[in-house]
């Protein structure tokens, strides 16, 4: 598949504000915070990449670099074939960035007036502008509220207007920075449906969705990259990333007479737990076939054996806790 976004050893340090003491005693010494470290990322055209990570992991910094709002300290980022530092104008023509920053609108203008202003700055004028605004207002369900001042919008409406602004120019790439943050569960669900139906299914755009809502990522994304402390720990197609857990949970149903069998005694069983149904056992292992063989050799009957699929949350917890790195090549 063709990559539409690529980063090569992308690194970002933010300067720290110096104290008066530091200014006097060591005026030339640099004081910096690492935000991104050698990030190598590939985003396939038409995919929806979930950029997952805890707070402060570097998700927003990465999105800001891709949208030319922050320059990297070293390394390179290429968006739609254009370098984010040297070809900022071309990059901005390819992307729509949606932040949860309510302050990025003019509060005493209506939703429509805000969109008219930003449409003009994105080279949309006259009939084309009006049509585009009507389309995104319809898509975001804000048609009836478009003539209310932005300050009177609810949080969910502000968020939807931010998405409408990002879609104004019908960009090839949409960068969504935590679009459901600070929304209640109902509005979050509505927002996810909106993203899935209008942006992903209908428009088939390439999307990067920065979030720490794993359910959201699992529901929407085809690919995932997990970032921690500025480093990409793992990335790849959703299903492949899920397979990085080599020891998996299995649910086994044994014949009635074998329920007292001590499964723990078999080699390869890492953990055993009782399922909600007492006739079922759940075991964690890397070698399910060996264990089934041992059970059969003991004379028991295995009536059912199913793999319990790990959730994205399981994967996320595992990689964040281990902080181990799995190379992209292994997964892609």
């Amino acid at each position: 598949m063709e990559s539409i976004i690529e980063t090569h050893n992308l690194t970002k340090y933010y300067p720290r504000l110096k104290t008066y003491r530091q200014i006097i005693l060591s005026p030339f010494k640099k004081s910096q915070n690492l935000a991104l470290s050698n990030v190598n990322l590939k985003v396939e055209k038409g995919s929806i990449l979930g950029l997952l990570g805890p707070n402060g992991a570097g998700k927003t910094t990465l999105l800001k670099i891709l949208s030319t709002l922050v320059h990297p300290t070293s390394g390179q980022a290429v968006v739609n074939g254009f370098d984010v530092v040297g070809q900022g104008n071309q990059v901005r023509r390819s992307i729509g960035i949606v932040t949860t920053e309510e302050r990025s609108f003019f509060w005493r203008l209506t939703g429509r007036q805000n969109l008219q202003f930003f449409a003009a700055l994105n080279n949309l004028f006259g009939l084309e502008r009006d049509q585009s605004i009507n389309t995104v207002l319809h898509q975001s369900g804000l048609e009836k509220e478009s003539d209310r001042m932005f300050k009177d919008y609810s949080t969910g409406m502000k968020q939807r207007l931010a998405i409408a602004r990002g879609l104004l120019c019908d960009p090839d790439i949409i960068l969504l920075d935590e679009p459901t943050r600070s929304l209640d569960p109902y509005s979050s669900r509505h927002m996810r449906t909106f993203i899935k139906e209008k942006i992903v299914n209908h428009k088939k755009r390439t999307v990067i969705l920065a979030t720490h809502n794993l359910q959201e990522a699992e529901e929407l994304c085809t690919h995932v990259a997990i970032i921690k402390d500025g480093m990409i720990i793992t990335q790849g197609a959703m299903e492949k990333v899920k397979n990085i857990i080599s020891s998996q949970w299995y649910r086994i149903k044994l014949s009635a007479g074998a329920l007292t069998m001590d499964i723990n005694k078999f080699p390869g069983v890492f953990e055993q737990r009782v399922a909600h149904d007492p006739s079922l056992l759940e075991i964690k292992t890397e070698d399910i076939s060996g264990i089934l063989r041992n059970i059969l050799e003991e004379g028991a009957v295995v009536e059912e054996c199913t793999l319990i699929r790990p959730s994205l949350e399981d994967i996320f917890t595992k990689v964040i806790e281990e902080n181990g790195s799995v190379s992209a090549g292994q997964l892609l």
Partner: protein, 270 residues
């Protein structure tokens, strides 16, 4: 064409925004009337005494100071409107949203101050109208074309310093030495309240380094004495020189400042 349409979008946005603050808007308009009245009473105090240095502008202090105050508004706006807009953008968070669009830096910085210039022009117009109809300001000999040329060049020359000042705000967020120093010196030496000829010789020489000196002198000669374009030429050329030197330098510095803010990741910090 594209620039004009974008500039109009900025103008419309700022007008809608300002008009939504109704009390502040009305107070701004009311303030113009108060200032004119204050200067009229000042002129009554000085009216009978004649200053030889005012003779070249017709000898009327009210006319002298009204032109000085009215057109020094352009200095204030040029110096402060761009940096104020940058600061507002940092505080409100709109700066990042503007820079994420397909509009160039120069268009953004220039267009963001258009409303202030337009409002100042309205202010100056009202100053002059009140001056003429209520306080017998004599503009019967005025060379309006000359006045407009001097005005446009003054705005361009002042804007160079304004863009420099916006660059400081972009990087340092607060603290604006360019505006402070340039504005202070202009008010002190530029001939706003008094003719530069009354200054000690060395200070009068210093005043020649400030564009406001040429701007106000040209404006007074054009409006009060009806000076021809050839008589205004020294002022026009001086303002042109300031423009040609300062504008490219300031745009270069502003571009550097935005790059620096992007490297620091501080576009929306304040």
């Amino acid at each position: 064409m594209m620039f004009l349409r974008k500039a109009l979008a900025f103008l419309k946005k700022d007008l809608l925004n300002e008009m939504s603050y109704k009390l502040a808007f009305i107070m701004q308009v009311f303030g113009i009337f108060l200032s004119v009245t204050m200067f009229y009473f000042l002129s009554l105090m000085f009216g009978k005494s004649s200053l030889p240095s005012l003779a070249q502008y017709g000898g009327n202090y009210f006319a002298f100071v009204l032109i000085g105050i009215a057109f020094s508004n352009y200095l204030d706006v040029s110096l402060s409107s761009m940096s104020r807009k940058i600061r507002e953008g940092q505080m409100m968070g709109t700066l990042e949203a503007l820079l994420a669009t397909q509009t160039g830096l120069t268009t953004i910085i220039v267009s963001s101050s258009l409303y202030s210039f337009l409002f100042t022009s309205l202010q100056v117009f009202v100053y002059l109208i009140i001056g003429v109809f209520m306080y017998q300001l004599d503009l019967s000999q005025a060379n309006y074309l000359g006045g407009i040329i001097v005005l446009l060049l003054s705005i361009l020359a002042f804007s160079g310093f304004g863009i420099l000042s916006a660059s400081f705000i972009m990087v340092f967020k607060r603290g604006n030495p360019v505006a402070k120093i340039f504005s202070g010196l202009s008010w002190l030496l530029g001939g706003i309240y008094y003719p530069v000829e009354i200054l000690p010789q060395w200070l009068e020489t210093c005043s020649l380094l400030l564009p406001i000196t040429y701007s106000l002198q040209g404006m007074r000669l054009a409006l009060l004495k009806g000076a021809s374009l050839s008589e205004l030429l020294p002022n026009i050329l001086s303002l042109l020189a300031f423009t040609l030197i300062m504008l490219p330098i300031s745009l270069f510095v502003f571009r550097y400042a935005v790059g620096r803010a992007k490297r620091d990741g501080s576009l929306t910090q304040y």
